[in-house]
């Protein structure tokens, strides 16, 4: 399965919200949809779902215009909420039936998902009796219980404790492993890196970066070096004193320091200078740029 967005444009009145959005997402791989607040991520997702019609461009599934009546989608929006005064099992069944499940199937799926999310005992409880984090898990169950082919998760980890976050990670990994198209939107770059093979970075309604995360990272100069002296001794003053050309900054990290260079080519000169100065090294590691660094550089 391949979901493609081609030249999608959208305006609200005078305001242009999306310009020529192009990206694709493959089944069995998660795509990280990134961008600052108000960049156009939610509008893009709403166009995929069909809540908004695009002014131009098209949404394709396996090369053909998407038929939303035939393909099931699940969307966990950033703004969460369900009926506070209705029993959880009842509402999950309702959402399942709205997506075309039979009453019996919907009931079975509701129970299955509640068990999967370790919430099996809440079937007959009202939603507002649960904590916020647990309410969010119920919402996730409502998003996934009809086994959608396209799953869109907007900030799925916000408000979850570490145990629940791990549970959710397992669920997302399962969804990906089952060959579904998973669109993952988050501000927590660490999580995006953990799940997503591909990213699409939107800024002010335009795609500014997209592709396989590994290729993107490779395309960036490796200008950050992690240096750790023997015994974790603080060598930042000693290295600064060497007056090596091309050092942009020195920042302490863990038991060592991160040295930022102006150009990747200067790393050999740096190593030679440190060894020449007689500083005993435990680690000298060329670091990959983090997604966060790439994000800040592109849209910061």
């Amino acid at each position: 399965m391949l979901l493609e967005l081609r030249n999608i444009t959208k305006s609200f009145g005078e305001k242009k919200v999306l310009t020529d959005i192009n990206f694709s997402a493959e089944g069995g791989k998660a795509l990280g949809l990134l961008g600052r607040n108000g960049a156009g991520k939610t509008t893009t997702i709403r166009i995929i779902i069909g809540l908004f019609a695009a002014d131009g461009g098209e949404v394709l599934l396996d090369g053909k215009p998407i038929e939303r009546d035939k393909i099931s989608m699940g969307y966990l929006s950033e703004e969460r909420g369900m009926y506070p005064k209705i029993k959880i099992g009842e509402q999950l069944e309702y959402f399942g039936r709205l997506r075309g499940m039979s009453p019996a199937k919907a009931k079975e799926a509701a129970q299955k998902w509640l068990n999967r999310l370790e919430m099996g005992d809440t079937y007959g409880k009202k939603l507002d009796t649960l904590s916020k984090g647990n309410q969010q898990k119920i919402q996730l169950a409502a998003t996934l219980l009809h086994e959608p082919k396209i799953v869109m998760l907007d900030e799925p980890f916000s408000g979850l404790d570490p145990v629940n976050a791990q549970l959710l990670k397992d669920v997302v990994n399962d969804e990906v492993a089952e060959g579904r198209i998973v669109l993952f939107s988050s501000h927590q770059m660490g999580q995006v890196e953990e799940f997503c093979d591909h990213i699409a970075l939107i800024d002010k309604g335009e795609i500014v970066l997209k592709g396989a995360l590994r290729d993107i990272k490779r395309g960036y100069d490796r200008t950050s070096i992690f240096v750790q002296a023997n015994g974790g001794a603080d060598v930042s003053a000693a290295i600064s004193g060497l007056n090596i050309a091309g050092i942009k900054s020195i920042v302490p990290k863990d038991e060592g320091i991160i040295i930022k260079l102006n150009a990747a080519a200067q790393k050999d000169a740096l190593l030679t200078a440190i060894v020449g100065a007689g500083i005993a090294l435990e680690r000298f590691e060329v670091l990959e740029p983090t997604l966060e660094e790439i994000f800040v550089e592109k849209v910061g």
Binding site: L51, M82, L98, G100, Q139
Partner: protein, 414 residues
């Protein structure tokens, strides 16, 4: 279609299970049961009062009679037998007034030789029937005496006091007799449209303010959501109204002897069934028309607090229709103004109902009104879907009229 029925049954059940709805059902049922039993309880109480009053319980009235015949007390006493009439002496007048002031006697009637009378009492109550009754009896006695003096026979006097027969016949409806029935239906219609319409608004706003809407609009089509909600709520309302009417009917039958003479209750069950049929038609048309409007307006609010201001236009239309129906029908139910008003969808359910109740409306007018209102409901349904699908995604401050119109223009492009 399946999705529509899923929404409909969910909304119907949600309404039935909501505390507000349940409490209202129970409270109104209690009011009906108690209210319909009150006349019977009062009857039981009154039947005690109607027993002959013991002579010792009757209020004492003294008569100082200065006429030649001195037969006034004897004449009045049988005609006003709930009082204890006693002849008094002119010399005892001060004692009698003392008795009145100390509540030992009720009144003193002094009758002069020529028949002029003076009534002395301590106080006069608002609902005093004693003095007019007494005055009428004394006047009549005086007239009979004069007529007899002038030579008329007893038979002639009797003839004078026998009024000619007077009978009213009308070929059309008697507005006076159908007035109560029609107004009971009108008030029922107005109240139920307001109440259930507001429930639709609140239901939409709650879904928005709790953000359930995000999940709903991504799970179902907006037209299924709003149509299912409006019709589900409407049916729940209809079920509740039917329960109330059934309870009223059962209580009416149980307490029949006591309540049959209370016009606002008896007309509801003794009135024509064809009016009930048209009330049902206009209830459905009126409810759906206003519920679609109220649902769409609700979708534009982000918070429950915004609801009152937002639904004002709909409330004003409804109240305007109600007043046109009441006052227009009182003046002339068949005036051109009323005929036109009974064709305008927002007014027709109430105005046509009142016209039909009080006069004979040509069938073509009723049919035309139903068709136009039906088209109005269809148009409002379409419009509400347009507003709803955009409105449900708008959060923040309550939008101005300008923004709403802009929203509608945008909705057309969807």
């Amino acid at each position: 279609m399946k999705q529509f029925f899923t929404v409909l049954s969910f909304e119907f059940n949600k309404m039935q299970k909501s505390n507000v709805f349940r409490i209202m059902t129970v409270v109104v049922l209690i009011v009906i049961i108690i209210g319909m039993s009150v006349p019977r309880i009062l009857d039981l109480f009154n039947s005690n009062v109607k027993k002959p009053i013991a002579q010792s319980d009757k209020k004492i009235i003294y008569v100082i009679d200065n006429t030649a015949a001195a037969n006034e007390a004897a004449f009045i006493a049988p005609l006003m037998d709930t009082y204890n009439w006693q002849s008094g002496d002119a010399s005892a007048k001060t004692d009698i007034i003392d008795k009145i002031n100390s509540d030992k006697a009720y009144a003193l009637v002094e009758i002069a030789a020529n028949g002029d009378a003076v009534l002395t009492t301590k106080e006069q109550s608002v609902s005093d029937t004693f003095s007019p009754s007494l005055q009428a009896i004394l006047s009549q006695k005086h007239q009979i005496e004069l007529m007899t003096q002038y030579g008329l026979t007893q038979e002639q006097v009797k003839q004078i006091y026998t009024p000619p027969a007077f009978e009213k016949v009308q070929s059309g409806k008697n507005a006076q007799s159908t007035f109560a029935f029609t107004y009971v239906l009108l008030i029922l219609l107005f109240m139920s449209i307001t109440m259930y319409g507001q429930m639709v608004t609140m239901s939409v706003i709650t879904e928005k303010s709790t953000r359930t809407m995000e999940l709903l609009v991504t799970s179902a089509k907006p037209d299924n959501l709003i149509f299912g909600k409006v019709i589900g709520t409407g049916l729940a309302g209809l079920a509740q109204l039917t329960t109330f009417l059934l309870a009223l009917f059962v209580m009416y039958k149980i307490n029949y002897e006591s309540v049959k003479n209370i016009p606002y209750i008896s007309t509801l069950f003794e009135g024509s069934s064809y009016m009930l049929f048209y009330t049902l038609i206009y209830y459905l048309l009126g409810f759906f028309l206003y519920a679609f409007l109220l649902g769409a307006l609700g979708s534009l609010c982000s918070r429950v607090e915004d609801a009152n201001v937002m639904v004002t236009p709909a409330t004003l239309l409804l109240v305007a229709g109600f007043y046109i129906a009441i006052y227009g029908a009182l003046l002339n139910p068949n005036s051109l103004f009323m005929v036109i008003a009974s064709m305008i969808p927002f007014f027709s359910p109430m105005v046509m109902l009142v016209r039909m109740g009080m006069t004979d409306v040509p069938f073509w007018q009723v049919a035309l009104s139903i068709v136009i209102t039906g088209l109005g409901v269809y148009g409002m349904g379409k419009l509400s879907v347009m507003i709803y699908r955009i409105g449900v995604l708008i959060y923040g401050n309550k939008p101005s009229l300008k923004q709403i119109l802009k929203t509608l223009r945008q909705a057309k492009t969807l």
